[in-house]
């Protein structure tokens, strides 16, 4: 289970929804690694997001699908040998016009703020592990 910040707290089964552009979905309908933003992957928390189809209907025309991952399915830690591992932290960050906005962030273990990984292979591995757990739940 990842760490979390913000209230109300995330439950393990709460869905986090990610907007997906056409190029972020492969021909087999799987979410590509490219959809994961290591500076903070924006998602909408299910508690306030409403139906994914509504989100799709009112969103950017270039957004073709909505992906989802359960809070409890996010890996809590990503190994980065020989350095310290990265931890995932889900932060509830409501914005103007989007009460559901949250971010999946990546923090160096033991640090108190986000830290984008510098190692390119580690970055690719984190993207893969997160994208593999995300599934497309709604398409235009």
């Amino acid at each position: 289970m990842p760490r979390q910040q913000g209230n109300p707290p995330f439950e393990a089964e709460e869905q986090l929804y990610r907007h997906l552009y056409e190029k972020w979905i492969d021909a087999g309908g799987r979410v590509r690694d490219a959809a994961i933003d290591l500076q903070g992957t924006s998602v909408d928390r299910g508690l306030f997001a409403g139906e994914p189809s509504d989100r799709l209907a009112r969103g950017d025309a270039d957004v073709v699908a909505v992906g989802a991952i359960a809070f409890g399915d996010i890996p809590s830690q990503f190994d980065a040998p020989p350095a310290k591992p990265y931890e995932s932290v889900v932060v509830y960050k409501p914005e103007n016009g989007n009460d559901a906005h949250s971010e999946i962030q990546f923090w160096r273990a033991g640090e108190s703020e986000p830290s984008k990984p510098q190692s390119k292979p580690i970055k690719a591995q984190i993207r893969e592990q997160l994208a593999a757990r995300m599934r497309v739940v709604c398409r235009r």
């Binding site: 190029k23 590509r32 950017d60 984008k116 190692s119 292979p121």
Partner: protein
């Protein structure tokens, strides 16, 4: 004989150490000579046996229609791929909340696509990476995967997965070595797949 997947896993890892020699060979071997070019082919047997420090670069004769000749028109898909790259370069800043691909990433991706074309491999698709850069896909089929990730600073990661439950291998490589590594992986994959 080692299992099929272990040979493929060895491919990318061994390329970084050997590409300098390989490139030196190719650069001297691709000069025209009487309508026939001599180019290097990295035999799968060489890749498999590299664990025993056996690099075998086997020169072979091929027809002058090889894509090493500048007078041969590039294939139509290459123009389409370059057009797609140019479109990625025109994404607005902070498109969809994400970082747009840099000019450097576009140039490096373009060079990789051209290198792979010379190795005989057609790009499958390209996508902007959410925190900057471009992913260039060559295989996305079931559990099999082959792509480049080009960061906005021009750095390249070669990502390969042979399938059959294997994990993805990642290697950060310079531009010239990255194309050789991915082409070798794809060639090994084709050679290792039984006909029919």
């Amino acid at each position: 004989m080692p299992p099929k997947d272990s040979g493929r896993a060895t491919t990318v890892a061994s390329v970084a150490a050997t590409t300098t020699l390989w490139l030196g060979f190719v650069s001297s071997a691709t000069l025209p000579s009487g309508g026939v070019h001599r180019v290097a082919e990295w035999k799968p047997s060489a890749i498999r046996s590299w664990g025993q420090s056996m690099l075998q670069l086997v020169p072979m004769d091929v027809q002058s229609s090889a894509r090493t000749h500048p007078s041969i028109d590039p294939p139509a898909w290459l123009a389409e791929a370059e057009k797609s790259l140019a479109e990625l370069g025109r994404l607005p800043d902070r498109w969809g909340g994400s970082e747009k691909p840099s000019e450097l990433a576009i140039r490096v991706a373009q060079a990789l696509v051209r290198s792979m074309e010379r190795h005989g491999h057609q790009v499958l698709d390209m996508a902007p990476i959410a925190d900057g850069g471009i992913a260039v896909y060559y295989v996305e089929e079931g559990d099999q995967h082959a792509r480049f990730d080009v960061d906005n600073d021009g750095g390249i990661v070669v990502a390969t997965r042979a399938g059959h439950g294997t994990s993805t291998q990642y290697a950060e490589l310079p531009e010239a070595e990255a194309a050789v590594a991915l082409a070798s992986f794809l060639q090994y994959d084709a050679d290792a797949t039984p006909a029919g």
